[in-house]
Amino acid sequence: MIVCLAVVGHENNPLYIQSFTESDDALKLHHIVHCSLDVIDERVNNPKKSSPTINEAFLGLLYPTENYKVYGYLTNTKVKFILVTTDLDIRDADVRNVSLLFFRKFHAAYVDAVSNPFHIPGKKITSKTFRERVSSIVKSFGLSSAS
């Protein structure tokens, strides 16, 4: 299950962050997302260490914690998408396909949101439409992963 989604800007500042949990661990999820930025930095700065698929936008598993797994995605404009899930036992290959699909959808939503003429690039995303769309994507992803 997806518990948190974040869009992080160039200065590692959060542009959009939404959690989908009922409990009050939003702050903890913030910290997890924030810490995972270190991994992204390291992967981007030291491409030789990481997998040869650095050209790919999908960064894969960033950061396993006890309860969560963190996945990353880097757009061409160096905006980072970070996904926190609680699906611990899924094999990497499955997650890869599913989450890649998810990130593609999410990317499309993001592109639509920032293409809004009233949106100023680099500012936080406050569009309600975007929020709704993301929620629906998350829901459908939960379904597809369950199936």
Partner: protein, 1433 residues
């Protein structure tokens, strides 16, 4: 890791035992330990101590009995420290050889030993201790029997020689080898024994399987067979996994604890082996699996904290292992292909990751422990029992130790009892410090890897832990550093949480300032993203980050700041209240996080302003605080403090507490000073500054309430950037100033200009400067509208071509001589009133810089000074002059006005001096050096010794101004005897004006007297000055030119040719070539002459001759010119045979000009010569001539001699012989026939010179126009003596007499000139003139016959040089014509002719003429033509 026993942490080492002879034990143990691999050894001094080796237990007969545990706690340590693999019995050799009692003793020891080690299969080694000296004493027989008794092989019996170094080392090595081999065998045998049980499935329970596996692994480790060890550890681990679900042996809690303890140990062994083998990836995978396996085995809820503690320990130990194993390889990722499942991410290679998780679990444990403690209230009473609970024999098992009649009985525990025990144990420990320690380790590890966000998270957790311990200062420090990161990256929610903690910390530390700062920052934070509703709690002490919460914090902060609220409710901090004793002062600068709370932008509306002129300034304030803030007073501070002003709030009456306004300060009142959220408060005021320079706003200080001040550093709108927190917010963009242009470009500083200078600075220039002279440049300071006070004039000389200022480029050391241009002097006209003290006059001169103070000038006054600049080399420079002054006299330091001017001046070389040597005309010395070095061009010029050489110095004016040359001299350097130079020095009588580009030449003669190859001639120094018509103060300059050294040598041969300067067509002349031999040898000279078409010549054509030493030979040629004009003489080439050198005169020197007839110029010269040979000195003549009024220059006198120039006196024979003819008639004119004859001769002579008709010449002279203003002095005629002529030389007795005579002669010659140059009409009477005409007519009529006659009678010497005898011939013509045509009596005529000759011709001429005429008469009489006519005069 430290909690594990030592035997577990380190790899096992083989153990041996030494018995007997304790003196060699240290030697052997040290050696065994130092070898690789090392061997540990137990040293038993005596054979009685052998019992320390535990005896083998009897094998259990009941295999079906339940196994009490998995692994015995002390099994490993027993094998590592107490059961040796090898026992060495050491006997001294004397025991073998000595008496039988010893031998028996030895045998019994051996038997005991064998008995005690038999069961354990321990290997035995015999060491026989012997001395080097009696090494071979030991009997073979005894040794053999000993071996038999001990049942050891020969190789296991070692002769040990401790007292010989070499031998000792050998035996020690032997011991080590034997021990190693035997230990290996022992451990292999043991391992094989246990393994065989595994292979035969000879175990009943899974516990035994695990135990056996463990034992095999340990034995393998003893043998350093890591692979096998790892395999069996893995097997044991897997076995353990199986046991989790199946075992029912113990109560569930304790069972799980035991399994976990064993698993922990097994896993530790495996991890250590893997990591030491460099298999980091596998270790990590194993660890991941291990934690995944056991994480879910939480166990029963009441002791759940044990599980978390265990898990935390797993992570911590693994982190430590990872850290210690090989930190460099920790990040190394092996090939990804071998791991099909998820490969570890980067972070799993960081030990920090594991520390962090260990801390997390420890925290979990802490939470659970607290919960468990709170649940079980009855923990306290069982404390007494808890003490008796100890660890039992098996690993991970605990039992109660009961004291029962002096024996201790281990009693198993129930789960409840155990739970109580561990709770009581857990209570004793402070977990927080452990958590902090773990987090700190993680924090440091992350920080060192530059993983700052994860480190910050650890820091945050640490700080929270500190906070929970009420350690506020540590907590605040950590929180602050974390907050910085969140601020920078705009993680609002995290920042909100941290700030909430910080606010509490500062409350705890009773710091009002910090409290207010954090509160204000929190209040002005933007809304965090995400759904607001879900942040109800979990955000730390600050509560949810909502607007209402922010408003609450805002209000609280301002209440504290007004002193209405005490900060801390604690009693001990009651003093903490903001009041007049503790005012609150906040400072907000460019990087302060409080910029969101209050930002002050200041913009001037103009970039520059005139001094004293008003300028508008806008101050814009903005706050992001959620509630409006009312400011009581604003103070704006500038760098010029007199511009500071205060804006007070019009809404609020001035309260007494804020009246800190200094008197004289400007106070403005604004209608209201309320800051609304995210709205700019704009205030525009006028501001004036009288001070030029930069006026910059520095602070805007806001006062809120009596004791709260916020000092905000002013910012320019142009350079404003939003704080990182608000930068990403989707807010309405507002501009701080209404004018958008100003909002983007406004600056907080303004440039106040200097006042306009009203003083002229004029540089007068007089053309280019000349090198060497002191160039005077006037500088005029003229005041137009300002008075000048304490003025300073700065002068700078700058090289226009860039480069080094004025210092020379060359590497010469810096000195004033090397300066190309220097400022020499500055002289100023002192003002009329000498009011200023001289001490005020600053004057400073450096070569390129000058400073002079200008006296005070009133408006309209002016002052000037003169700069004297000297150019040492030609160079263009830029002269910058700047004047700084203050218009007011009262404040000299206040404000200076500056005027600048510049002028480019070229420095030029004034004169160029050249020189040239010339030999005398037509003279060629033969110089050997010249012969030899023809090729060398830079050869010093050669001069001939004792020959005169011309030195021509030419001075060219290179400047643009006319120069006056004053003098020129040659200063000889060496002794003057070396050569003489004439003239040494010449002052030009009248300064020679050398126009630009003109060349002036001066000739010197050099007469070298010393034969030298390097004669220093000297230096030409030329004194000159700039011609300036107006000023007479210019100093003359001297330009020097060093003449190069010359080579002087004796010319061996000198060839000089001689010929007249000109020739006449058809008349022969002589051309002689003289060869002078200056050597001591006879010189053979070949000479030849080439024919020339223009000349007919006679003389030796080609000849060889010998010139005697120190003598000369002359070749003489007679040449008759055939052509006209400038002709080349036939070339005579002279060749010296000895030197094989030809001497050939240059073509220029062998030219001669051929006239068609004799030119007059030379005759004049001859005449002059004649005249000078008479007594009258020629000087007198010329000086008298110069008096003659003539429009032409003196040169013309020489070229066009009038008849008057030849003073002819006609000697009147009648007057002298018979004075019946009066000399002067009634009209005062000459009337004697002598005068007529004189005039005729004069006219005839002039006609001859001009080649014109004498009659016509006479007419011309008679009709010549009178000169205007010319008055003829008739008195002269009275004094004029027709008969004066120079006789023989007169000798006088005294000087006075000579002077007297000279005076008389001068007077006479003066009169002569006066008379003879006068117009003839005035001098002679008409009759005389008539007679003169008659005479001349006769001469011209009778010319041809006279020529024939003269040719007959005249001497040859005259006929050969007709040009020099014109006067004499004229006398003859005149006389002959008078005799033959006019028929005057010949006595009279001859007498007159002789007299004329006496007067005008030189010595012998009168007599010759007399002779000639007598001969003529004789011939005339012979021819019978003596028909003289009677002529009456």
């Amino acid at each position: 890791m430290e909690e594990y026993p030592e035997e577990l942490r380190t790899p096992p080492v083989a153990l041996t035992c030494l018995v007997g002879c304790p003196e060699v034990h240290p030697l052997i143990t040290a050696h065994l330990h130092s070898q690789q691999p090392p061997i540990n050894s137990i040293a038993l001094p005596d054979f009685s101590n052998i019992s320390v080796i535990p005896p083998k237990k009897p094998p259990t007969d009941t295999p079906s009995a339940p196994v009490a545990g998995i692994i015995k706690r002390d099994w490993l340590s027993k094998h590592r420290t107490r059961i040796p693999a090898v026992v060495a019995a050491i006997f001294p050799s004397r025991d073998l050889s000595a008496d039988p009692a010893h031998w028996l003793q030895l045998c019994s020891h051996l038997d005991n030993l064998k008995a005690s080690i038999r069961g354990r299969n321990i290997k035995l080694v015999l060491l026989i201790l012997t001395n080097w000296d009696n090494k071979d004493d030991t009997s073979e027989e005894r040794i053999l029997s000993l071996r038999k008794r001990a049942e050891v092989d020969l190789k296991n019996l070692i002769i040990f020689v401790p007292d010989h170094e070499e031998e000792l080392l050998k035996s020690l090595n032997r011991v080590w080898t034997v021990f190693g081999e035997l230990a290996d065998t022992y451990y292999r045998d043991e391992g094989r024994r246990v393994r065989s049980r595994l292979e035969k499935k000879n175990y009943t329970t899974i516990e035994l399987y695990i135990r056996y596996c463990f034992k095999v692994a340990i034995y393998a480790e003893f043998r350093r067979d890591w692979l096998e060890a790892l395999k069996f550890y893995e097997d044991a681990y897997h076995g353990l996994r199986e046991m989790v679900g199946t075992s029912t042996r113990m109560p569930p809690i304790q069972r799980l604890v035991e399994i976990k303890a064993v698993a922990e140990q097994l896993h530790f062994k495996m991890s250590a082996l893997l990591l030491h083998g460099g298999k980091v990836l596998e270790a990590i995978m194993w660890f991941r699996q291990h934690t995944a396996n056991y994480r879910k085995l939480v166990g029963s809820p009441e002791v759940i904290f044990l599980h978390w503690e265990w898990l935390s320990r797993q992570y911590m130990v693994f982190a430590q292992l990872l850290e210690t194993s090989s930190p460099n390889d920790a990040l190394y990722v092996p090939s990804t292909a071998s791991v099909p499942e998820e490969k570890p991410t980067e972070w799993e290679f960081y030990p920090a990751y594991y520390y962090q998780l260990a801390a997390t679990y420890m925290k979990e444990k802490n939470t659970c422990l607290e919960f468990a403690l709170s649940m079980s209230i009855d923990v306290g009473p069982i404390d007494g029992n808890a003490e008796s609970v100890v660890a039992s024999a098996y690993l991970g098992q605990y039992s109660r130790l009961l004291e029962h009649e002096d024996t201790f009985i281990m009693q198993p525990l129930t789960d409840e009892e155990y739970a109580r025990y561990v709770l009581a144990e857990g209570k004793r420990f402070q977990d927080s410090f452990e958590i902090i320690a773990l987090l700190k380790q993680s924090f440091e590890a992350y920080s060192s890897s530059k993983v700052e966000r994860a480190a910050a998270y650890c820091g945050l957790q640490m700080a929270r832990e500190y906070f929970s311990l009420n350690d506020f200062s540590n907590a605040k420090q950590m929180f602050d550093s974390v907050a910085n990161l969140y601020r920078r990256e705009g993680w609002l929610l995290s920042l909100w949480e941290v700030l909430g903690y910080l606010r509490e910390c500062s409350k705890g530390m009773s710091s009002a300032k910090d409290f207010i700062e954090y509160s204000l920052e929190m209040a002005s934070l933007p809304e965090p993203t995400g759904s607001v509703k879900s942040f109800a709690n979990g955000c730390g002490p600050a509560g949810p980050a909502t607007l209402s919460e922010r408003e609450k914090i805002h209000k609280e902060a301002f209440e504290v700041s007004r002193g209405e609220l005490k900060l801390n409710s604690d009693e001990q901090n009651s003093a903490f209240k903001v009041n007049s004793d503790n005012p609150l002062y906040l400072e907000i600068d460019l990087i302060s996080p409080l910029r969101a709370t209050l930002i002050a932008l200041v913009a001037f509306h103009q970039p520059t302003v005139k001094p004293g002129a008003p300028s508008l300034i806008t101050i814009s304030l903005r706050s992001q605080l959620p509630i409006n803030v009312e400011i009581d007073q604003l103070e704006v501070q500038f760098n010029q403090s007199e511009c500071n002003f205060i804006i007070s709030n019009g809404q609020k009456p001035q309260t007494g507490s804020i009246s800190n306004i200094q008197p004289g300060h400007r106070v403005e009142t604004a209608p209201d000073l309320v800051l609304a959220t995210n709205k700019w408060l704009r205030l525009t005021y006028e501001i004036k500054s009288d001070l030029s320079g930069k006026l910059e706003c520095i602070y805007v200080i806001a006062r809120i309430g009596p004791n709260f001040t916020i000092c905000c550093r002013a910012e320019s709108p142009a350079s404003m950037n939003d704080s990182p927190l608000w930068k990403f917010e989707n807010l309405l963009e507002t501009i701080p100033i209404k004018d958008p242009g100003l909002a983007f470009s406004g600056q907080k500083a303004i440039q106040v200009e200097e006042p306009e200078p009203q003083v002229d600075l004029i540089l007068g220039s007089s053309g280019p400067a000349l090198v060497g002279e002191s160039f005077i440049l006037p500088v005029i300071v003229a005041s137009k509208g300002h008075a000048v006070h304490s003025g300073e004039l700065k002068i700078n000389l700058v090289d226009t071509s860039g480069g080094g200022l004025l210092s020379p480029r060359e590497e010469e050391p810096f000195s004033s001589d090397n300066l190309h241009v220097e400022l020499v002097d500055m002289s100023c006209d002192t003002p009329g009133d000498q009011s200023e003290a001289p001490s005020d006059n600053i004057q400073k001169i450096q070569p390129s810089f000058g400073l002079i103070s200008v006296p005070s000038l009133d408006v309209g006054g002016s002052w000037s000074c003169k700069l004297k600049i000297k150019w040492n080399r030609p160079k263009p420079i830029m002269l910058y002059v700047s004047l700084g002054y203050s218009p007011q006299s009262d404040e000299p330091s206040l404000q200076k006005v500056h005027v600048h001017t510049s002028l480019q001046i070229e420095g030029k070389t004034a004169v160029a001096i050249n020189h040239r040597y010339m030999l005398p005309f037509r003279q060629d010395p033969l110089l050997l050096t010249k012969l030899k070095a023809v090729s060398e061009t830079d050869q010093a010029p050669s001069l001939a010794l004792n020959e005169k050489t011309m030195l021509i110095i030419s001075v060219k004016n290179c400047s643009e101004v006319p120069l006056k040359l004053l003098s020129m001299s040659i200063e000889t350097e060496e002794k003057s005897s070396a050569c003489t130079i004439q003239p040494q020095q010449e002052e030009f009588r009248e300064a020679v004006v050398n126009m630009p580009g003109e060349e002036f030449k001066k000739v010197f003669t050099i007469f070298p007297k010393v034969n030298s190859s390097k004669l220093k001639i000297g230096t030409v120094s030329l004194r000159w000055e700039r011609e300036q018509p107006h000023s007479n103060t210019t100093a003359s300059q001297v330009t020097k030119h060093r003449l190069p050294d010359v080579c002087v040598e004796l010319p061996l041969l000198v060839v000089s040719s001689e010929c007249p300067p000109h020739a006449f067509l058809g008349s022969p002349f002589l051309y002689s070539v003289k060869i002078l031999n200056q050597t001591e040898m006879v010189q053979e000279i070949k000479c030849s002459i080439s024919d020339s078409q223009s000349f007919v010549l006679s003389g030796p054509h080609s000849d060889t001759m010998l010139v005697l030493p120190r003598s000369a030979q002359v070749l003489v040629y007679m040449l008759v010119p055939l052509g006209l004009g400038s002709l080349q003489l036939p070339r005579v080439s002279v060749t010296s045979v000895r030197y094989s050198a030809g001497l050939q005169p240059s073509t220029a020197s062998s030219l001669v000009f051929v006239y068609p007839a004799k030119p007059r110029i030379d005759i004049v010269m001859e005449a002059g010569y004649i005249l000078s040979s008479s007594f009258n000195p020629p000087k007198t003549l010329f000086s008298s001539i110069s008096k003659f009024p003539s429009p032409h220059g003196p040169r013309n006198l020489l070229l066009l001699p009038r008849a008057a120039t030849i003073p002819l006196t006609i000697h009147n024979p009648i007057a002298t012989s018979a004075s019946n003819y009066p000399r002067i008639d009634k009209s005062g004119k000459f009337c004697s026939p002598r005068a007529a004859r004189e005039l005729a001769l004069m006219t005839l002579y002039a006609a001859c010179l001009q080649g014109s008709d004498p009659l016509r010449l006479l007419e011309k002279r008679l009709n010549a126009r009178k000169e205007i203003g010319y008055e003829f002095d008739r008195a002269c005629l009275m004094v004029y003596d027709h008969m004066t002529f120079g006789g023989p030389p007169i000798a006088t007795q005294t000087v006075e007499e000579a002077d007297q005579l000279l005076e008389i002669y001068q007077k006479e010659s003066h009169i002569e000139a006066e008379v003879l140059s006068a117009p003839p009409n005035l001098v002679y009477s008409k009759l005389i003139l008539l007679f003169t005409r008659k005479l001349l007519t006769a001469v011209s009529d009778n010319w041809d016959s006279s020529v024939l006659a003269i040719d007959k009678v005249a001497p040859d010497s005259w006929k050969n040089e007709p040009a020099t005898r014109i006067l004499e011939f004229s006398v003859l013509h005149l006389a002959m014509s008078e005799i033959s045509v006019l028929g005057t009596r010949h006595q009279i005529v001859i007498n007159e002719a002789v007299d004329l000759a006496k007067r005008f011709c030189d010595g012998a001429a009168p007599r010759v003429i007399n002779g000639c005429l007598r001969t003529f008469l004789k011939e005339l009489k012979e021819n019978g033509q003596d028909q003289p006519q009677n002529v009456s005069v």
